[in-house]
């Protein structure tokens, strides 16, 4: 696609107009605040804030919604890092190393790092958007059921392979997650599975309830058990907020190279931030020379997924704006809002209303800068949360978890599910069973089954599915590699050590 520089510049000036700049700031701030609450991720944040846009002109509404979405992405990782409570699937990977950094007394640095990584991810993706939107949109169409199935299998295997030396527990966790996703009505056949005649269960268990249960509730229960234990206490000293040179050099390349990964995954309808950040995290761990430090507060473990999920958030706008197809839950909600406002995103948008499209792209760019400034200013304020005595903080997190859950399904049945997963989360933590495979499986399990089922209608047998296209072959190979290569490397390095010894 030739970039229409005139429209681009025009869009830039429109986005910089005083009114739109105010919308970017308001949207970013609102999104950050709502996104920080446990359970309120970008999708919910945008959905509950839609009524604000009633009566606005469609360009400003799009800018505001985009800013809310962005703000919520930034906000979501704040709560992951500070209190180990992700607001959404895409913020989970930020808990892996972000929360350990907080425990080590480096909360400020973790927040700065994640903010900078988000900025890098956002920038790379916006540049990609400007130059490659159209060709990439048609690339995304290449993904049929077989390609999706192997992409999802690869993501799962990449995450399970993180649980080195603990493979059985990792697989148990993953299969339990997949099991949960079979609850509800089966799309392909209309059969009701394991719903026990509870209407609320017919749409399955919302993965966000599982996330809040395992992280927020489970974490609180665990911490209450250790409340008298001084070693477990988060260090009051929250450290400097600016990062050290070493942290920067360690994270710089992971940030830069994971941005395109996230961007590409984000473009695929239905994949999105959770998958992008998980893939980025696990590849960085494989690549790193200090992979032992992952999970214990490695700076690149924060930087890589944060850059990646923000890039994915930008990527998700490509199918939305060029084809009118939402690539994620959040963009689906935004699409609904835009239609209400009389703006039809789709192939005609860039032709009929290029000013709207380009203004929006520029607003993403400006929004990223505004959010970074805002978030760095907020750090000092945010880490005050950690100074709240835990005896008061934990009850409040629990109540927030319940409220967040209610806003997801408006049903108290979800409260029972929340408590059950809280208990499961507690025991997983005690027994050192990795939670990431379970969560990821819950997020993508349903899609995986449905794509598998559709693929088996289109192709005869597994082999035909694998050889369906180069993309399917690539992911099938990557899957095998992600499981066996680490084991192989492990063995090799052990041999080396043995030789030395």
């Amino acid at each position: 696609m030739g970039v229409d520089w005139n429209s681009f510049l025009e869009g830039f000036t429109t986005a910089m107009s005083f009114q739109n700049l105010i919308f970017i700031i308001i949207g970013g701030l609102l999104g950050t605040v709502v996104g920080m609450l446990p359970g309120l991720g970008p999708a919910t944040a945008v959905a509950v804030l839609i009524p604000i846009t009633f009566g606005m002109d469609s360009t400003s509404a799009l800018i505001l919604l985009g800013a809310i979405y962005y703000g919520a992405m930034y906000g979501g990782s704040r709560s992951s890092i500070l209190i180990n409570t992700p607001g959404d699937g895409s913020a989970i990977a930020a808990t892996f190393d972000g929360y350990p950094m907080t425990r080590k007394g480096q909360a400020g640095q973790a927040l700065t790092l994640s903010t900078l990584a988000s900025l890098v991810g956002g920038f790379v993706a916006i540049i990609g958007f400007v130059f490659l939107a159209k060709p990439l949109a048609s690339f995304a169409l290449q993904f049929g059921p077989a390609e999706y199935f192997f992409l999802l299998v690869f993501t799962l295997s990449a995450v399970v392979s993180l649980s080195k030396g603990n493979m059985i527990k990792g697989f148990v966790s993953m299969v339990l997650g997949l099991l949960i996703t079979t609850i509800g009505v089966d799309s392909q056949s209309g059969v009701y599975r394991y719903t026990f005649d509870i209407p609320h269960l017919s749409e399955g268990i919302d993965f966000l309830v599982v996330i809040i249960g395992i992280y927020a509730v489970g974490e609180v229960l665990y911490n209450i058990l250790l409340i008298n234990n001084e070693d477990q206490r988060i260090k009051d000293d929250v450290g400097r907020s600016w990062i050290t040179k070493e942290q920067w050099t360690r994270s710089f390349w992971p940030m830069v190279r994971q941005a395109p990964v996230g961007f590409l995954v984000g473009i695929l309808p239905g994949a999105g931030g959770s998958i992008a950040s998980m893939i980025s995290y696990s590849t960085e761990q494989q690549l790193s020379k200090k992979s032992d430090e992952f999970g214990k507060g490695a700076p690149e473990g924060v930087a890589a997924p944060e850059s990646s999920n923000n890039a994915a958030a930008v990527g998700a706008f490509i199918p939305l704006l060029t084809m009118g197809i939402p690539g994620s839950g959040t963009t689906a909600v935004i699409l609904g809002a835009l239609i209400m406002l009389g703006l039809q995103p789709g192939p005609m948008l860039f032709q009929d209303q290029p000013d709207v499209a380009w203004t929006f792209i520029n607003s993403l760019f400006i929004g990223n800068i505004v959010l970074v400034i805002m978030n760095i200013l907020l750090i000092g304020f945010l880490i005050k949360i950690l100074k709240t005595p835990p005896h008061v903080l934990y009850p409040i997190i629990l109540v927030l978890a319940f409220i967040g859950t209610y806003t997801l399904g408006y049903s108290i049945i979800d409260f029972f599910i929340l408590v059950i997963f809280g208990i499961i989360g507690l025991f997983m933590k005690i027994l050192n069973i990795p939670t990431a495979p379970l969560i990821l499986a819950v997020i993508i399990g349903h899609q995986m089954e449905q794509n598998y089922r559709m693929a088996s209608v289109s192709y005869d047998g597994l082999w035909a599915m694998i050889t369906a296209s180069p993309i399917a072959i690539l992911f099938a190979v990557l899957t095998v590699a992600s499981i066996f290569l680490p084991a192989l490397f492990n063995r090799l390095s052990r041999v080396k050590v043995d030789n030395k010894g």
Partner: protein, 327 residues
């Protein structure tokens, strides 16, 4: 004696006061007497939620309802949760509905029937389209049916988000009327209309059945071809699109949205809403909502709606059997 008279008159007075107060309460002019609740049986951001909020907005802006109106989200079970909730409320709660209020019961997924509620209006409809990729060699709707008649498994058909929805049923209906063995058709069920579109554009399926508002934009830009619609009138954006009727098959199928109240609403209350909605559908604001969403006006008042629902119920019962969804 005198005191007794006094006592009696006080009682009388009190009685009169109480009675008149009651009388006032049930008088037509006073309904609605408190906040009106519109139940959207879906999460914020979904289609039903959008309808509910649009309704709230228009009624409020046009000043048609004086009381405050709130949208309440009760998602789950394809409307089931919201409608169960509505059943227990008084006449100040209304809910958005669609043909699912009939279909859920017929499919055995709900004990509620449309007769458990007070029908108030049908507001709008969408028409359903059948689309193929632009490089497909299928020429028109009849050509596609002809191929399916020969071999029902020859085409992969995309539909979303669930079996038994209108996109699916309307396709089954027209195929059945043409003599296709519909039990053999190969449907692929996608999560949403957007996913159906992606699959079709990527060439992963041969045919898709989806609402016109979802397919029209792509048709106009030449990425796919709409080969048939269930409409009873030409599509204003492109009048060359042929409906089934244009192709000689007598078949129309609306995908409507309406509104209903809890059971046992009084005549006055029903009359109030008839008046309100008939005024609302005339307003410019509502016209804008219809245009933005790609809906057509399909207004029916409460009486017409009741007759329409009876008719729809019969039609769906028939249809489910044909589709093999019920015995």
């Amino acid at each position: 004696m005198k005191s007794r008279m006094k006592f009696l008159s006080v009682i009388m007075l009190a009685l009169v006061l109480v009675l008149s107060a009651c009388g006032n309460g049930s008088a037509e002019s006073d309904y609605p007497s408190k906040n009106v609740e519109i139940v959207a049986p879906a999460t914020p951001g979904g289609g039903w939620d959008a309808t509910a909020r649009a309704l709230q907005n228009v009624l409020d802006e046009e000043g048609l309802v004086e009381q405050n109106m709130n949208v309440v989200n009760k998602p789950g079970g394809g409307g089931e949760v919201g409608w169960q909730y509505l059943k227990g409320k008084d006449s100040h709660s209304l809910s958005i509905n669609s043909s699912l209020v009939i279909a859920n019961n017929l499919l055995g997924q709900s004990d509620l029937t449309y007769e458990d509620f007070t029908p108030l209006a049908v507001l709008a409809t969408e028409w359903i389209s059948v689309a193929v990729p632009s490089d497909s060699d299928i020429e028109d709707g009849v050509d596609m049916l002809e191929r399916l008649k020969e071999d029902p498994k020859s085409l992969k058909i995309a539909v979303g988000p669930a079996l038994g929805n209108n996109d699916h049923l309307s396709f089954v209906r027209v195929a059945d009327e043409y003599g296709v063995d519909v039990s053999q058709l190969e449907f692929m069920i996608y999560e949403s209309g957007g996913d159906v579109l992606t699959a079709l554009l990527g060439g992963h399926v041969d045919v898709a059945t989806l609402s016109i508002s979802e397919s029209l934009e792509q048709h106009l830009s030449g990425n796919l071809d709409i080969i048939a619609t269930t409409a009873d009138e030409p599509i204003p954006e492109d009048e060359s699109i042929e409906s089934w009727q244009d192709q000689g098959i007598d078949f129309t199928f609306p995908h409507w949205r309406g509104i209903m109240g809890p059971p046992d609403m009084t005549e006055e209350e029903i009359a109030y809403w008839d008046e309100t909605f008939s005024e609302m559908v005339e307003s410019e604001e509502w016209q804008k909502v219809l245009d933005n969403n790609g809906w057509q006006d399909y207004y029916m008042n409460s009486e017409e709606t009741k007759a329409f629902l009876d008719e729809q119920n019969e039609m769906y019962e028939d249809l489910m059997k044909t589709a093999g969804l019920t015995e």
